[in-house]
Symmetry: C2
Subunit: 295 residues, 2 copies
Amino acid sequence: MDIVAATRPAGFSDHVKVRTGDLADPAIAMKAVSERPDVIFHLAGVVSGEAEVNLEKGYHVNLDGTRSLLEAIRKESDETGDGYKPRVIFTSSIAVFGAPFPHAIPDEFHLTPLTSYGAQKVMCEQMLADYTRKGILEGVGVRLPSIVVRPGKPNKAASGFFSGIIREPLNGEEAQLPVADTVMHTHASPRSAVGFLIHAAGLARDKIEPRINLTMPGVCCTVAEQIEALRRVAGDKVAARIRPAPDELIMRIVAGWPHRFEAKRSTELGFVAEGSFDQIIRVHIDEDRGGSFVA
Amino acid sequence: MDIVAATRPAGFSDHVKVRTGDLADPAIAMKAVSERPDVIFHLAGVVSGEAEVNLEKGYHVNLDGTRSLLEAIRKESDETGDGYKPRVIFTSSIAVFGAPFPHAIPDEFHLTPLTSYGAQKVMCEQMLADYTRKGILEGVGVRLPSIVVRPGKPNKAASGFFSGIIREPLNGEEAQLPVADTVMHTHASPRSAVGFLIHAAGLARDKIEPRINLTMPGVCCTVAEQIEALRRVAGDKVAARIRPAPDELIMRIVAGWPHRFEAKRSTELGFVAEGSFDQIIRVHIDEDRGGSFVA
């Protein structure tokens, strides 16, 4: 389900159904939930850059959309009284944390986001934990690190360049780097992100409740180290396609983002990310480029 | 302003105006804000016990009420374009924290409330910090410890007994104790609570932003120590008026509450609470009982 008509994914059985609508509309959320999904992966959201520029849209989609979904589940369960209690996997973000930070952010670090997107993610995490505690649903909040390399077109996420500086050069195009190459951040591949979601869907409740919002593991490195990894994997010519193009807004947003996480709890719970940025680049070449790139 | 008609406080000048209405109604919030208060003390809320029993009412009053106020300020400022930017002091609560806890909760401890009330307070704190960061208003979130001794009738707060076991015995009445006397908690008097709010209204912005939500100081003690303090201040006969009356719901709620705080930041910022529970009892005898009690 998406607010824009989604393409039917290829290679799946006839059981795939596509729905279109604004989840923040209670009637649309009710209709979707009335189909009784056992597991709901709730990824819908306005990304960080856009939520920062458009406050109303950010709260509408990120907060009201999630609330509307959780309320629809509560009402469906209340009205039918048959114990409907789906698992809800919510994609939260490391943007729930805000600077200043310790060397590595522990699992028990407080939530002081420095973007509207991060604030909205915290609000949704809280509501998800509350509805889980009340027995309305079985929530898991999955705080994703920056997922790279994203395939396709750039989006308005302030973190978009992390994908761009790998994706575009591998495609023979120039990429713009809006921040200094000393910026340090934590990453995982889209393959890992999917793995996180599926793993979350199978977690035993007693292992995670009531602290159901979990910081995922990832690869911590600087932009310079990412560029070095690109050079190792694809050569000098590819790495030379990255051009500095400082952007004040993105620099300011990224400056408030966390660098490094302990992620002890998620690691103990069996969530796994890549071991190096080289691996993250190889996942992109394998999955999105059919194994080759423009040298 | 309150949802029920408030009594005009005695001893104030003619500048006191009383307004009645549901703050969660955007039109009512807009009307209130159009009077251009310089400082808004936002205390309205459904208390912890009631928010736990009535989920919809809790989210309506505690989340929607606060959001409606913040949105009204944003719109008033946007529409007039004259830089209206009030200070907003929001009474949050130590219920934003949830067990298990370290020996003393540091200022940077994460937010994992175990009540709907606590979840709603976190959500409001986040929105207040976000609107402050965006320059819409100047917010300060004041996380109150349990305020005792509250005058008047008991309310539905799960923490109500903390006041009841002091107030009723001093009034010659029996009081019920719904939890074990080993329960440890942190308290401040209503006089301190007022002091916190006034102090928050005068804080320099650069001292607190962007982490505007502050855990207040207080007196940490067990219920047994509170009863001992009552015995010291008012004698054996008064202390003997407390009767055990175990209550499962209250015990469960209180078990998830924090015990002790470092409150380093608020102390450095000049917030002050009482130094002992004896003092807290004396404040009640002085301010609410005219200096005497039923021995």
